[in-house]
C-alpha cells in the first residue's frame, strides 16, 4: 500500500507536471507579433506626391507644410515685386525649365552684382541637412531664404530697411495675395509680413520634390525605362573604379541627406581638387568653401555634394560654375582633380593637400563617359521640369 510520503511526492510531482505543461502549452497558443510604431513619421497635412519608398522630409514645427502655404510661396517665388527694384524674383536665378537653376556660371543679382557661386538647383531641398554650398549653420530653408532677400554683398533681391515697407505694400495692393495670405496664415490680422513671406517661400521650395525620372521608373520595375547605355553607366557609377556613389548616394544621389527617419544627421563637405593655388591648397578669394565658416585650414575648398537629380539640366557645374559640361566633369574626376597651368588660379588640384581621399584618378574611355552621361541624363524628371504645380502663376490665368 502506498505510503503517505510517496503519495505526497506523487501529488506534488503531478501538480508540477500540470503546471509546467500548462505553461508550455499556453505559450504555444499565442501567435507571434511585431508592432511598428513610427509616431509622426507619416503624419502630414501636405500632399507631398512622393512615390512609395521615399521617406517624408522633416517639416519644421513652426512651419508645417500646407497646400495654402505652398501656393502662397509659389506666387511669391515667381514675383519680381519681391525685390528692391521690381526686377528680381526667386525664379530669376531658379528657373523651372533648368531644374530651378539659371544656366549661368554664377548668378547675377537685381543690381547686376555677380554672386560668387553658381545657383544651386532647387531639387529636393527638403532633404538637405544644410543649405547653400558650404554653410553648415544654415540648416533650415527659413534661415537660408533670408540671405537672398536681404543680402548686401552681393545684392540679390535688394530688400533693405529703406524699401522693405514699400515692398510689403506692393504685395498688399495685389488683389490675388489677400486670399492667399489669409488662407496660409488664418488668424493673422495682418498676414503680409516678412516672417510669413519667408515661411511661404520655404514651404514652396520644400515642396519641390522630384522622384519620377527614368531611373526611378527603372528602379520600380520598368526594365525598359533605361537604355542599355544608361544601364552600363549605372554600373560604372556604382562601381569601384569611378566610385561616384561614395558622395552621390542614396535616394537623392547625395551623401548629404536627411529625412524623418534619420537619427544622426550627417553633413559632409568635400574638396574635390578643383583648385590648388600656388600649391598651397587655396581656393580663389571669397570662395573658400567651408573654411569661410569654420576657419579650419583643412576645410579649405570643401563644398556640399549636391543632388545629381536633373543634373543634365543644371549646367554649368561645381560651386562656381567653372566646369561647363558633364563630359568635363567626368574628365575632371578621372584626372583626380584639375590642373590650371596659368593665371591667378594656377595650381595642380590633383595634388591639393586638402583634397578628399575619395578623389583618386581613374581610367575611363570615351564610350564609358558617354554611358555615364546617359545614366546621368536618366535622372532627369521631365514631370518636375514641366509640372504646372510649380510654374509661374503670374503668366497663367488663375
Amino acid at each position: 500500500m502506498p505510503s503517505a510520503t510517496s503519495f505526497t511526492a506523487r501529488a506534488l510531482a503531478a501538480r508540477a507536471v500540470v503546471a509546467f505543461l500548462t505553461l508550455l502549452l499556453t505559450a504555444c497558443g499565442d501567435d507571434s507579433s511585431t508592432r511598428i510604431d513610427t509616431g509622426n513619421l507619416n503624419v502630414t497635412a501636405f500632399d507631398w506626391q512622393l512615390p512609395l519608398g521615399i521617406p517624408l522630409p522633416v517639416e519644421p514645427a513652426d512651419n508645417p507644410m500646407t497646400e495654402e502655404g505652398f501656393q502662397l510661396g509659389r506666387h511669391l517665388f515667381h514675383d519680381t515685386r519681391l525685390s528692391g527694384n521690381n526686377t528680381q524674383s526667386c525664379s530669376s536665378c531658379h528657373q523651372q525649365t533648368k531644374a530651378f537653376t539659371d544656366g549661368l556660371t554664377v548668378s547675377v543679382g537685381s543690381t547686376g552684382q555677380a554672386h560668387p557661386r553658381n545657383a544651386q538647383a532647387l531639387v529636393n531641398t527638403a532633404y538637405n541637412p544644410t543649405l547653400t554650398w558650404a554653410n553648415p549653420s544654415l540648416v533650415r530653408l527659413e534661415q537660408q531664404i533670408l540671405v537672398p532677400l536681404f543680402s548686401e554683398d552681393p545684392i540679390e533681391h535688394g530688400i533693405t530697411d529703406l524699401n522693405r515697407e514699400e515692398i510689403l505694400q506692393r504685395l498688399r495692393d495685389e488683389p490675388r495675395y489677400a486670399p492667399l495670405f489669409a488662407a496660409a496664415f488664418p488668424g493673422d490680422t495682418d498676414p503680409v509680413t516678412y516672417t510669413n513671406i519667408v515661411k511661404a517661400l520655404a514651404s514652396f521650395t520644400r515642396g519641390l520634390t522630384s522622384f519620377n525620372s527614368a531611373f526611378d521608373r527603372y528602379s520600380r520595375g520598368d526594365a525598359s525605362a533605361l537604355s542599355n547605355a544608361a544601364k552600363r553607366g549605372l554600373s560604372l557609377f556604382n562601381g569601384e573604379r569611378l566610385e561616384c556613389f561614395h558622395c552621390h548616394t542614396g535616394y537623392n544621389f547625395t551623401d548629404s541627406t536627411v529625412d524623418r527617419a534619420t537619427t544622426r544627421i550627417e553633413t559632409p563637405f568635400h574638396n574635390t581638387g578643383l583648385y590648388n593655388i600656388g600649391g598651397t591648397g587655396a581656393f580663389p578669394e571669397n570662395n573658400h568653401g567651408l573654411f569661410e565658416i569654420t576657419g579650419k585650414p583643412t576645410d579649405m575648398g570643401k563644398f556640399r555634394a549636391p543632388t545629381l537629380r536633373n543634373i543634365a539640366k543644371t549646367a554649368p557645374y561645381m560651386h562656381d560654375g567653372s566646369v561647363a559640361t558633364l563630359q568635363d566633369v567626368l574628365r575632371f574626376y578621372s584626372a583626380g582633380g584639375r590642373l590650371i597651368t596659368s593665371g591667378p588660379h594656377a595650381g595642380d588640384g590633383r595634388l591639393s593637400p586638402f583634397k578628399d581621399d575619395l578623389i583618386v584618378s581613374f581610367t575611363i574611355s570615351d564610350a564609358e563617359i558617354a554611358d555615364v552621361i546617359a545614366f546621368l541624363e536618366s535622372l532627369t524628371d521631365e514631370s518636375f521640369i514641366t509640372n504646372p504645380r510649380f510654374s509661374n502663376p503670374w503668366t497663367t490665368t488663375p
Binding site: A13, F20, L24, D30, D31, S32, S33, T34, D37, L41
Partner: protein
Amino acid sequence: MTARLPFLILLALPACVFAHSADDNGNGTQVDVALSASWRSDSAVPANTLWQIPGVLTGGHALPVDKGLSLDEASLTLSHQRPDGIYGLLKAETHGSEDSLSLEHAYLGFQPRDGVATWLRLEAGRMNGEFSPANREHASTRLFSETPLVMDAFLGRHFVDDGLRLVARLPGQLSLGVESWRGRAFPATSGQGSTDVFARWHFATESWQLEAGAFGMKSEAEKRIDERYSAGHSHGGTTLTGPDVNFIGETLLYGVSGRLTWWMADEARLSLQGEWLQQEPDGTVQNSSVTRQAFFTATQTGGYLQLEGRWKQHELGLRHESVVVDNQLTGSGAAVLAQDIPHLVNNGFNPERLTLAYAYAFRPGVKARLEWVRDESSATSQDRVAVGLVWRETLWQSGD
C-alpha cells in the same frame, strides 16, 4: 505570461543540477573526452543563407546544422580535485560549425570539506552558467544532438563567460546561487556584463525524482552585433554578412525548468523534462552609422518539453520546442529598420521544432543515435534525418 510566473514557481520549486562538475570527480586528476558527430540529410537553411529565428535578434554561437557529416561537439576536459576542497577544470572544446578549438572552461572552485561552510561552493573563471540545465548539456550528454531552439534564440546556443559563482546548498535539498559575468557571452557585450540568480530543488523517493529550478538574469549590451556573421563566417563556402544592425540596452531573462523521472525498474526509467524561458529586451536597435534607430522592446517566450524513456541500452525520446515573440519597434526609424532587419518582423509565425530520437549504447560510453526532425523554426518547413555517434569516456583518472 509574466503574471503566471510566480504562480508556477510556487509549483515547480528549485532543484539540483543535471550535469557534470569537477566536484563529482572526487580527489585526484581526471581526463575526460566527449565526442558527438552526426550525418544529416539536410541543412537547417540552404547554403549561403543566414539562419535567423524569426522575430529574434539571434547571435552568439547559434549556427545552423549543416547537411552531411559534421562534428556536433568534441571536448577534452582536465579536472583536478584536492583534498582541501579546491578544484580546477580546463576544457577545450569545439562544436557545431566552428572551425577552431577554444578554451571553453577554465575555472577554479572551492567547496570546504569541513568546518562551518561546507554548504558553500565558490567558483571563478571561464565556465558555463549554471542557471539553466539546458545550458550545461551538450550534444554528447543529451539524447538529442541539436541544442534546444530556445537556447539558440535567447542565449546564442550556450552561455559561457568569465565570471564568479557562489552556490549555497540549504536544507531540504534547496540550492541558491548567484553568478556575475564579464559580458563575453550573448546577450551581453564585453564590459557590460550579466548577473543572474538561480534556485534549484531536488526531491527523490525510491522510484521518483523531481528536479526543478528557476532563475532570473539581467544582461547589458552596448552595440551588440550578430557576431555569427559579422566576421565573415563561412557557411557553405561563401562569406555571409548579417544585417547592419546593433542593439543597445538591457535584456531580462527568466526561466523555470523541471525534470520528473520515474524509475520503473532497475534498468528502465521514464522522464519528462522541460524548460520555459521568457526574454525581455529593452533598448535601441540602430544601424552602424547611427543614421537610423528605433526603440525595441519585446516579450519573447520559448521552451521545450521532452519525454524520454530508457530501457537497458535503449533510449527513445520526443521533444517539442517553440518560440513566441511579441515585439515592438518604436520611432521614426522603425519602419526603415524593419526593412533592414526583416527577420525581426514576425507576425503570426511561431518557430517550432519536433524531434524524435533513438539511441543505442552498443558499448560502454559509446552509442549510436538516430533522429528525425521536423524543423519549422523558419518560414520553410523541413524534415531531416540524422545519424550519429556519441563517445564519452574517462581516459585517465588518478587518486591522491
